[in-house]
């Protein structure tokens, strides 16, 4: 029953979004038709909600007539993880995608479109509807979660044990999808601008907030993924450069580049082709990333399942690229402005440099991700490109970005004014020197981390200088709005960068064979085994070693053997601190009643600052969303970035 209901809902979605697209395209000429678009988009959205609800119901009632429930459902999965089990494999993830996308499409059709030039709004809605139609088809056909399963199945294995280990699985994928899928909205407006030829900056201003919201969700989602990795996977890291992580990072990189270069277009009317290209790149990279990670051409931990949607996604990627490049080529020369950036030492010059570095970063990540495939096709040989490659190339690029964050906020628009910039950079530069000195006192070493700390210090100084100046000029309101929000985001990102540099460079690790009651010392801490506990239920057997750190409370790294799937999962235990985390994992072989345990200890500096930085970034994004422009720019024909006195 659930199967038929779900399929029916998805079919309604396919038809409604197709009609929505048709109505929008027709509506670009005829304003009477365009009024139908929100209704169709709303119907499609309702259909997606219904399909998702049916799936949740099937999962909660354990309807094992569905193949998908057989795959990821189980009577023994706790309720919370059972709800999240819906998106624990490919088919459910696509369904979540459909849900988010159709909601965005509805909001665009119902809220954004009427506030815009009619043809632009109609075409943007049309693109949204076409993309959601594609994903409805995907979810209804090749990736349907409502297919009938083998008869007679009464229980299943449940989701991958890694996905029933931490509450973050509830939030990481939906956040990521809100960002990932949200990038469709600015893309739709970019295409609409190209199709209609309304190439002034109306589309850009209309989507500014949407890009920011999507970017915020994406950033938050990526950070939650890092947190999940740290808390669950037990190798003590937050980022492994695996293909799925890369797939989420790629649109983040091009999206971040866009947020910066869009300011150049608003302010100076330049970089129009480039901005459109960045949006197209961002959207097509989400499709490409999904293809790479879900079609099975690359293996990855995250690819918890594979399916035959590969050709569909590849075709979609091809269509998106061909259509967009064609449109840009067609309209391109009308987009040119013969304005000029007078010097690299202006704000727009720094944004240009920023875009260069972000684009190069995206190129490195894309190259590293697809290079094994290229080698396989060209050389018929298998290679893997991983962590050390991205680290080596990513570190100089990251340092370049930190340097830009340090300098750019002090540079004036339009004309290079060396004296002004020097004045503005004076105190931030001392911040950098102070950061270097502090790092040295705390024992830092190595050129790259030292550079990161120094540049981070200058960048913090730059951002704070801006915030203080803005607050002085405008009171507390000076701390919100676009550019102050941006500076708060900078503070968060610098926090994350410095924390990454510290934790990647100065982690100390040791394996300790602990005997009950006999303390062992490492890196200035003592570790005492208090006991080894075994608990067991129908789902799993779990062995926990109770280890007290420095004589304090006991932490309990564990190894859990999931009986049904025959998988062993280690669960770390972390003592979190402002200065450093102490991260414990229990290592096999586990001898239950021997009074001994082998644990691995990682002492990792500054990890907490990753999460603090994430929080600050989210706050900054929210602050940047607070509208201030209307008040400031009233009567000003040229839109000025808000918050600038």
């Amino acid at each position: 029953m659930n199967g038929a209901l779900g399929q029916a809902a998805l079919l309604v979605g396919v038809v409604a979004s197709a009609f929505g697209a048709a109505a929008a395209i027709a509506g670009a000429r005829d304003p009477r038709v365009v009024r139908l678009v929100p209704r169709f988009a709303g119907l499609a959205c309702a259909a997606a909600v219904a399909a998702f609800a049916v799936m949740e119901r099937a999962m909660i009632t354990r309807d094992f007539s569905l193949a998908y429930v057989q795959k990821v459902g189980s009577w023994s999965t706790p309720a919370l993880y059972n709800v999240a089990a819906v998106w624990s494999a490919l088919e459910g993830s696509i369904l979540l995608w459909v849900l988010v996308l159709s909601a965005y499409a509805f909001v665009v059709a119902w809220w954004v479109r009427p506030r815009l030039e009619p043809r632009l709004g109609a075409w943007a809605s049309a693109v949204m509807c076409i993309v959601s139609c594609f994903f409805f088809v995907l979810s209804w056909g090749p990736a349907t979660p409502f297919a009938r399963g083998a008869p007679g199945v009464l229980d299943g294995p449940g989701p991958n044990p890694l996905l029933q280990n931490h509450v973050l699985v509830m939030f990481h994928p939906p956040m990521l999808y809100l960002g990932y899928v949200g990038m469709t909205v600015p893309f739709a407006f970019a295409i609409a601008a190209l199709v209609t030829g309304s190439l002034d900056d109306a589309w850009l201003r209309a989507t500014r907030r949407w890009s920011l919201v999507s970017w915020g969700f994406l950033t938050f989602g990526i950070a939650l993924g890092g947190w999940w990795s740290y808390e669950v996977l037990g190798w003590s890291g937050v980022w492994a450069w695996d293909p799925v992580e890369n797939a989420s990072l790629l649109p983040w990189l091009t999206g971040t580049a866009y947020l910066h270069s869009a300011m150049v277009q608003e302010r100076r009317g330049m970089l129009r082709v480039w901005n459109l290209s960045l949006l197209v790149a961002t959207f097509s990279l989400t499709i490409l990333g999904t293809f790479l990670t879900r079609s099975g051409v690359l293996n990855s931990v995250h690819a918890f399942s594979e399916s035959d949607i590969g050709p569909w996604l590849l075709a979609a990627f091809g269509v998106v690229v061909v259509a967009s490049v064609g449109l840009i080529g067609w309209r391109g020369d009308a987009l040119r402005r013969s304005d000029a950036i007078s010097s690299p030492l202006t704000r727009e010059g720094a944004f240009l440099a920023n875009n260069l570095v972000f684009a190069l970063f995206a190129f490195v990540v894309l190259l590293g991700t697809v290079f094994p495939l290229v080698v396989e096709v060209v050389r018929d040989r298998q290679i893997v490109v991983g962590e050390p490659f991205f680290d080596r190339l990513g570190v100089p690029l990251g340092l370049a970005l930190l340097a830009l964050m340090a300098i750019a906020p002090a540079l004036p628009w339009r004309t290079a004014a060396g004296a002004v910039a020097r004045d503005r950079l004076f105190w931030p530069a001392w911040c950098g020197v102070a950061a270097l000195a502090a790092a040295l006192i705390l024992g830092a070493h190595g050129l790259a981390p030292m550079l990161a700390f120094g540049l981070g210090g200058v960048a913090v100084g730059s951002a704070l200088r801006h915030l203080v100046a803005s607050a002085r000029a405008r009171g507390p309101l000076g701390l919100v709005g676009r550019s102050s929000g941006g500076m708060i985001v900078h503070l968060g990102v610098i926090c994350i960068a410095v924390a990454l540099a510290a934790s990647n460079s100065f982690t100390r690790s040791q394996e300790l064979d602990l005997v009950e009651g006999r303390p062992a010392a490492f890196a200035g801490h003592t570790f005492t085994l208090r006991g080894v506990e075994t608990t067991s239920d129908e789902r799993a057997t779990r062995v926990r070693a109770l280890v007290s750190i420095d004589g304090g409370r006991a932490y309990a790294p564990a190894i859990t053997k999931y009986l049904r799937v025959g998988m062993t999962v280690g669960t770390p235990s972390v003592r979190t601190g402002l200065a450093r985390d102490v991260y414990l994992t229990l290592e096999p072989p586990v001898r239950q009643d021997s009074g001994r345990a082998r644990i691995k200890v990682f002492v990792k500096p500054m990890i907490l600052w990753l999460w603090i930085g994430t929080g600050v970034t989210v706050l900054g994004t929210l602050a940047a969303l607070v509208p201030t422009r209307r008040r400031v720019a009233a009567g000003d024909p040229e839109p000025v970035a808000a918050g600038r006195p």
Binding site: G296, V374, V377, G566
Partner: protein, 179 residues
Amino acid sequence: MSVRRIALAAAVAAAGLLAVLALVDAPGEVTGESPLLGAPAPAVVGTTIDDASFSLERRKGSWVVLNFFNSTCVPCIAEHPALVAFAAREAGLTDGAELYTVVNDDSDDAVREFFARRGGDWPKVRDDDGAIAVAFGVARVPETWVIDPAGFVRLRVLGELAPGALEARLDALRAAGSS
């Protein structure tokens, strides 16, 4: 340079990427190659699940077949009858090969039960921390390796053995060795 020309260049680059992605197959069967083929076998040692010691070096003078195995792996179960037949045939030959099962990530009891149910009384060597598997570069079970009486690695078979295939390959190796 005009936007049109740049767009064309971008389209060409994207088409190249598209071609690569369309041409590449999902990772499939890996060939049974190894830098060890034709080289002296690594000197692995271990104990069998019956606590007898095992040293590969000491088995020089016999053809040795190592079968990397796990009692839950499906192709291992599938190929087991072929191994039983192979062992029976070799036992009847004067220069019959010695067959050893190398147990990968499995408990003694599970292995005993497997062999009690499905037959086969050749020695089963423990490989608790995977030292033997790493020495041969075995990532996935099953894998079957043949080592000649001089101690050189002669053959690597990845995945499930077809019935009779190992016998044929070994006879070919023997013929090549004696000629």
